[in-house]
């Protein structure tokens, strides 16, 4: 048998169980109802509504008195149009720690220095610690874990002059500030004040400025006068990958 289409030219596809076009898929879920025939019927209905028809409830068992767990197999009616698939592209690749380390080694031939702080009166170091502490966040190790990064964590309630001074003394390549408290737009005002202070004090030699916090909108970077803004759910790996990207861009720019 010969295949008529190569994967590249295919436009419409359905899930593959054991025959092309059978649309077979499996799923599992829990419903908050007691175990029994009625529960199986409910699972079947849900699967049908999800576009799985016919659907087979191949397994169910009770979890306590009030819940039932199901495994369902069936054919889905949906068709995927590959031409309509849009992938959001990040302008930089996500790198594993070893690649971050080797990229820094290659670009800078020294360690990349990161200075981090919670500025203003904000005492919530949860965010900056999740990014910097080796303990990390969401299963990823913090920036301290990266061999080629030197991390200086100044902690909470750091004044802007202190931050500028520390960045200068440590020859920071990047400055990370975290803002959690947003009363009266404190996070925006503090960040603007910070970026202005850096530009005034260091001008062209200003380190990369990065702001992070749950209430920041990543599109606000220009307004805030920073190079990059990271919002809720950012992981250390994303920040590290960005650092590599931004530093190499800068280097090209200056070269």
């Amino acid at each position: 048998m010969t295949t008529t289409e190569t994967p590249k030219t295919k436009r419409y596809v359905r899930p593959y169980g054991d025959t092309t076009g059978d649309g077979m898929a499996q799923m599992s879920f829990t419903l908050p109802i007691p175990f029994g025939p009625r529960a199986d019927g409910a699972a079947q209905q849900l699967a049908n509504k999800m576009g799985m028809d016919p659907a087979m409830v191949v397994h169910s068992h009770p979890i306590g008195e009030d819940f039932t767990f199901f495994v369902v197999y069936g054919s889905v009616q949906h068709i995927v149009d590959l031409d309509a698939v849009k992938v959001v592209e990040r302008e930089y690749p996500l790198l594993p720690p070893s690649d971050v380390n080797s990229a820094i080694k290659k670009t800078l031939r020294r360690k990349l220095v990161v200075v981090g702080a919670c500025i203003g009166t904000d005492a919530h170091t949860v965010g900056i610690d999740a990014i910097l502490n080796i303990k990390g966040f969401a299963g990823e190790k913090g920036l301290e874990y990266y061999r080629e990064l030197r991390v200086v964590n100044l902690g909470a309630q750091v004044s802007i002059p202190e931050l500028v001074k520390a960045a200068r003394a440590d020859k920071a390549d990047a400055v990370l500030i975290s803002q959690v408290v947003t009363q009266r737009d404190a996070h925006i005002l503090n960040t603007q004040e910070m970026s202005a202070a850096f530009r005034e004090a260091m001008g062209e030699r200003c380190p990369l400025l990065i702001a992070g916090g749950p209430r920041f909108d990543p599109l606000m970077a220009a307004d805030l006068g920073v190079d990059r803004v990271f919002g809720r759910g950012t992981t250390p790996g994303e920040v590290a990958s960005y650092l590599v990207h931004a530093i190499s861009q800068r280097k090209e720019h200056h070269a």
């Binding site: 599992s28 879920f29 829990t30 979890i63 306590g64 819940f67 767990f69 005492a123 919530h124 170091t125 949860v126 610690d129 999740a130 502490n133 080796i134 303990k135 966040f137 299963g139 190790k141 301290e144 874990y145 061999r147 964590n153 902690g155």
Partner: protein
């Protein structure tokens, strides 16, 4: 546990050398811990003496009264003599009825703390001892109560005990999940703390409902969960144990609260805070010693955190650092009065499954821990690093983890989740995970009887090799000094100098007249 039959034929002389080196490495740090106190130790002492509640009017939010008092004493007359002398002197001078009244007066700026001398000092010391002894008797009563409940309801029917985590952020929701987990077979419930609590230099107050990826450890939350588990223990006919975290900047206070509310196990590692949270080394060692003394008194099983090393370093290359840390944790714990049966030394199943013979290597490492610490209730931690989101493969890996646990006689088994690194576990994930454990225990629970690794096989050789590497590393640590070794990045790759890190400003060198009735009563084992 102690019925362990030696399968590895470890050389008793090498084992003795390893223990001797661990003791030598720990000695200077123990001297340092004895010579210092910390703001957290002083706060813990006042908590034993009965101070509770928080200043709800403070502009920074609820500040525990104990923080207000200790900070003010430090400002007025320093903490090098201990907090109890100035506090109980002020209580008498101002004729106040309770420490809470004193705290309110302190907040109102009505108290000027001084170090009493002569007869005033003697009577302040006496009053402090009476108050702290009362708190310790509550801890003693809780311990006796636990023993009574265990006798009445019984321990779990078999080893390993099954340890399950709940973490919703809301204590009321935690209670529901914990009760369900116990009904489904969990013997131990651990409530994970809110992200970042370890770096708070105070213990939040009251019942809490808004944690980040975990629930705040507070005295009230402890009480609520223990009461709920007492109910469910009756229902399931075995005593369900409760675990929380005595780590971070408030380690001693959390230890006291755990003793006051009858928690049963506490995470408590001698170096975790230093390495993974960048807490000052001296602060950690001082806080750790006090907290372990309190745990010893409360009959609480500690769980150490060796699994963390293997999440940062390679589980094969760094296997010996786990052994070294276990030996150090053991020595620090013994020194603080914890007997072997309260030493839940940790280790983990974290070898890359793509490494050839990975399961045999896991067995070697797990068996080494078992035979080095035959009487300790070892805590066996599931794979996390190589759980990828392929939940089917993860379920298999957890099955092998469970099998390694029963084959090597582990005592406490933390249930692995196939959705590790994907989502916080679904109700069904927990149910499936428990089914996995049950299957392995039913199918192979006694397989240990038939398990005899070949005397010159890979498992035995590997265990000997790891022990040898541990001895070499301990040798270097003794030469270098433990604090220097930590500063140089020997453990978990982190470099932590002794004068740096969070909470360093909360460390105080004791003066000659330093007095702490809690330490005295704990050292003496006295109740009055």
């Amino acid at each position: 546990m102690s019925q362990t039959r030696a399968l590895l034929d470890l050389d008793p002389k090498v084992v003795a050398t390893a223990r001797g080196l661990a003791a030598k490495a720990a000695a200077p740090v123990i001297d340092l811990a004895r010579a210092h106190t910390t703001v957290a130790v002083e706060r813990a002492t006042l908590r034993l003496a009965g101070i509770t509640g928080a200043d709800t009017t403070h502009r920074a939010g609820d500040v525990p009264w104990v923080n207000r008092v200790v900070d003010t004493v430090r400002e007025h007359c320093g903490l090098e003599h201990g907090v109890t002398l100035p506090v109980f002197h002020a209580l008498r001078e101002h004729d106040l009825g309770s420490l809470t009244e004193l705290a309110e007066a302190t907040a109102a700026g009505q108290i000027q703390f001084t170090i009493p001398t002569g007869r005033a000092a003697t009577s302040a010391a006496k009053a402090a001892r009476v108050a702290v002894a009362k708190g310790l008797r509550t801890v003693d009563r809780n311990r006796a109560n636990r023993d009574k409940l265990v006798t009445k309801l019984g321990d779990p029917p078999r080893r390993p005990w099954i340890y399950l985590i709940v973490a919703t952020g809301d204590i009321d929701e935690d209670v529901v999940q914990a009760a369900n987990a116990a009904r489904a077979g969990a013997d131990i419930i651990a409530v994970i703390r809110s992200t970042g609590q370890s770096l708070l230099d105070y213990v939040p107050e009251g019942a809490t409902h808004h944690g980040f990826a975990g629930t705040y450890a507070t005295q009230e939350n402890f009480r609520i969960m223990r009461a709920a588990l007492d109910e469910v223990s009756k229902e399931v006919g075995r005593y369900v144990r409760l675990t929380n975290y005595a780590s971070g900047l408030c380690m001693p206070e959390i230890a006291v609260l755990a003793g006051l509310e009858r928690l049963d196990m506490m995470l408590n590692d001698s170096m975790y805070g230093i390495l993974f949270r960048d807490i000052n080394p001296i602060r950690t060692f001082v806080d750790q010693r006090f907290s372990r003394q309190v745990h010893a008194r409360a009959g609480i099983i500690i769980n150490t955190g060796e699994d963390n090393y293997l999440t940062t370093a390679d589980a094969v290359d760094a296997a010996h650092t786990v052994t070294v840390s276990q030996l150090l944790n053991e020595h620090f714990a013994h020194e603080a009065g914890l007997p072997d049966e309260l030493l839940g030394l940790g280790h983990a199943f974290e070898i890359n499954p793509k490494v050839p013979d990975s399961f045999r290597l896991e067995l070697a490492h797990a068996l080494l821990a078992r035979e080095l610490f035959p009487d300790a209730p070892l805590k066996w931690m599931p794979p996390t690093k190589h759980m990828t989101g392929d939940v089917f493969n993860g379920y298999l890996l957890d099955g092998f983890f469970n099998l390694a646990g029963v084959l090597t006689g582990q005592s406490i088994l933390l249930v692995g989740m196939m959705t590790e690194a994907v989502v916080t576990p679904f109700l069904s994930d927990r149910d499936l995970a428990l089914a996995n454990v049950r299957y392995v225990l039913d199918a192979a629970g006694s397989l240990r009887e038939d398990f005899r690794p070949a005397p010159d096989g890979l498992i035995v050789k590997r265990a000997h090799q790891v022990l040898g590497e541990a001895v070499d590393l301990l040798d270097r640590i003794v030469d270098d000094g433990l604090l220097n070794a930590i500063a140089d990045g020997t453990f978990g790759l982190m470099k932590r100098p002794a004068d740096k890190g969070k909470g360093a400003d909360g460390v105080i060198e004791k003066a000659d007249g330093y007095l702490n009735p809690a330490t005295t009563l704990l050292d003496e084992g006295a109740t009055k």
